[in-house]
């Protein structure tokens, strides 16, 4: 950790620029927040593999690289270029961020329900930040997480979504983060805040895509507050490039009887780390954390989840599935903390992995800490290969070996994808999986180049 001073120089410079109000005039509480976070980041430094939470994920390549803040241009990006990643006109609200900054021309804001806000966090900070102050950086803690601290110190923009009490948003809200990465190695620190009023309902899709050939680093934090009896579905999609580093924390706080469904789907990226955390802070809360990671070549994906059962009568369900080909590496670490007060907790966690090559590696670790005595907790993890009997069955009906393997791999993934309730998203992922898995040989090759 001590080695780091040089590693941080770039970020310190970025910070200095932000602190001097280079781009966004920030309110005093915000400046204080940044300053504290920066101090925390410099105290923590980038984690090494000696750090328990980063044991299998080496972020040295991120620490070593000099990523610059992206220029505030849109690099000629058009709506057509983004079309494959959006849900078209029927998609509802869409907030597009290019290289970390809100791009209104590419966004779509059809009639929002009364009182609902959806827009740029930077915009709200500049105009009237009173709605943000009680929430921003109150849920995702900088204390032990260098990347959350770094994001908090350097954040510039992201999505702010606030759904008033009792409001049901009928269509999905899509937050799309695009990195253009034309030549220079760039960094962005997207920061999202989602506030769900009591009894409200919404579906949010948060997706990350890369377009250019250059390396880049996305360091995102999303904080979510779900009020009493509110219902939120949050689908996160990582489609970064093979030159991208993606580190992100999703932190959700659930009030009494709130329902939260999260899916973290990793389709590409050189190194991806998703921290998905939920705190069941009121009685009767219900949280589902699902995930899928589809890795090949030399990709690395690490999913850390943490569910805090703080109050009684809450339930949590977790299903993470991984498909690993080539020389890829996967990590799953699932923590469930049942606090002393959380009687009648019902928690279940499952992690299943399919290894398609001899060289793919998965490290999976469930961690249950239970301080209450009247609870139901279960966990299980499996690591396996494709079932030979099933392959033979399919081949005996005329399917070729590769088609049979592809179909079975698709079937493995579809358990997670079929749970997606947003039809255009489910359809798109379904087609994507089908196309990719049909030519497993090309896809799983060690070359690292997707077919």
């Amino acid at each position: 950790m001590v080695a780091g001073a040089k590693e941080w120089e770039g970020y310190l410079a970025d910070f200095a620029q932000l602190a001097s109000n280079g781009n966004t005039p920030a309110p005093p509480w915000m400046r204080e927040l940044r300053r504290t976070a920066l101090d925390r980041f410099t105290a923590l430094g980038f984690p090494t593999t000696r750090h328990e939470e980063w044991k299998y994920t080496n972020v040295a390549p991120i620490a070593r690289s000099r990523f610059e803040r992206a220029e505030s241009t849109r690099n000629g990006l058009t709506a057509e270029r983004l079309a494959p990643f959006t849900f078209g006109e029927q998609g509802g609200t869409r907030l597009v961020f290019v290289d970390g900054r809100y791009a209104p021309a590419l966004s779509a804001l059809p009639d929002l329900p009364d009182g609902m806000m959806a827009g740029s966090l930077a915009g709200v900070l500049t105009a009237d930040s009173t709605a943000l102050e009680p929430h921003l950086a109150r849920y995702a803690a900088c204390q032990d997480h260098a990347f959350v601290a770094l994001n908090t110190a350097c954040m510039e923009d992201g999505a702010f979504v606030s759904v008033p009490a009792g409001t049901a948003v009928p269509k999905p809200i899509h937050l799309l983060f695009v990195t253009t990465a034309p030549e220079k190695a760039t960094v962005s620190h997207p920061r999202n805040l989602i506030l769900m009023g009591g009894g409200s309902r919404a579906m949010i899709v948060e997706s990350y895509v890369g377009l250019g050939p250059a390396s880049y680093f996305t360091n995102a934090v999303t904080e979510i507050l779900i009020g009493e009896s509110a219902v939120l579905t949050h689908d996160k999609l990582v489609e970064e490039t093979d030159g991208a580093f993606h580190i992100a924390t999703t932190q959700a706080q659930l009030d009494r009887s709130a329902v939260f469904t999260s899916r973290a789907i990793t389709l590409s990226g050189a190194l991806v780390r998703n921290d998905t955390n939920a705190v069941l802070a009121g009685e009767g809360g219900d949280c589902t954390l699902d995930g899928l990671y589809l890795l090949h070549g030399r990709q690395h994906a690490d999913n850390h989840t943490r569910i805090d059962h703080e109050k009684p009568h809450c339930s949590s369900r977790e299903l993470y599935k991984g498909i690993l080909a080539g020389r890829s590496k996967g990590v799953f670490n699932g923590k469930i903390y049942v606090h002393q007060d959380a009687q009648k907790t019902d928690a279940k966690q499952t992690n299943k992995n399919l290894l398609l090559s001899e060289d793919a590696v998965i490290n999976t670790k469930p961690q249950l800490e239970i301080l209450a005595d009247d609870v139901k907790c279960a966990h299980g993890s499996t690591i396996g290969r494709l079932d030979e009997d099933a392959i033979f069955y399919l081949r005996s009906r005329g399917l070729g070996l590769e088609a049979a393997r592809g179909l079975l791999t698709y079937a493995f993934a579809s358990e997670v994808v079929s749970r997606i309730t947003i039809a255009p998203l489910q359809g798109r992922l379904d087609r994507l999986l089908m196309a990719r898995l049909q030519s497993l040989d090309g896809w799983s090759g060690a070359s690292g180049v997707p077919a």
Partner: protein, 252 residues
Amino acid sequence: MLVIEDLHASVNGAEILRGLDLEVRAGEVHAVMGPNGSGKSTLANVLAGRESYEVTRGRVLFEGRDLLPMSPEARACEGIFLAFQYPVEIPGVSTAYFLKAGLNAIRKHRGLEELDAIDFLAMAKEKLKIVEMEQSLMTRALNEGFSGGEKKRNEIFQMVVLDPRLAILDETDSGLDIDALKIVADGVNALRSPDRAMIVITHYQRLLNYIVPDHVHVLLNGRIVRSGGKGLALDLEERGYDWVKADAGAPA
């Protein structure tokens, strides 16, 4: 159509088939009967091309061509169909998707145009009636949560759709109640034709009341020890396999 000569096959190093000879002509239905462990399922799996079964000696000709070097999918394309004793459950794959993929692979091999989703469904709907299954079968995950009878009927449905030249039914009657048995038998009988052959593998004579065979063979210790007409099955039912065992000079 099918000529098996001196077939020897092993599973995990243990020899199961020990010099099996059998000839099946187009239009014929052959029943292969035998006690547990006699090699019935091994024969079925070897013919379908399961790789964990190792052929150590002998040859198999299908339509005059050497069958043994062919992959399972190549055999399917040539017209061989195995109705599994234990059909595999595959969550996440619908019967429609799977069967359309198989059928189109076979059609392509035969130089026929591939069917699109609409034509396939129209055709499949007709065939479903033969096995008296609901159309919802098509959208359900393959065999997942199916009862034993539903799985077997699904096998026959697949057979009807894929239209094989040689159908091998591996203990298709096991675990069926009498109603399901009749449906399965009707499906099989509907497919009998002068240019198609069938091998019906069964432990019990019961199925043969409904699918009347032209020839009956008794398999014992990996060899066919007795062959005859349909009357042989009735003799077996009455006198048990011990009778054949004693006759064949094999240890009882």
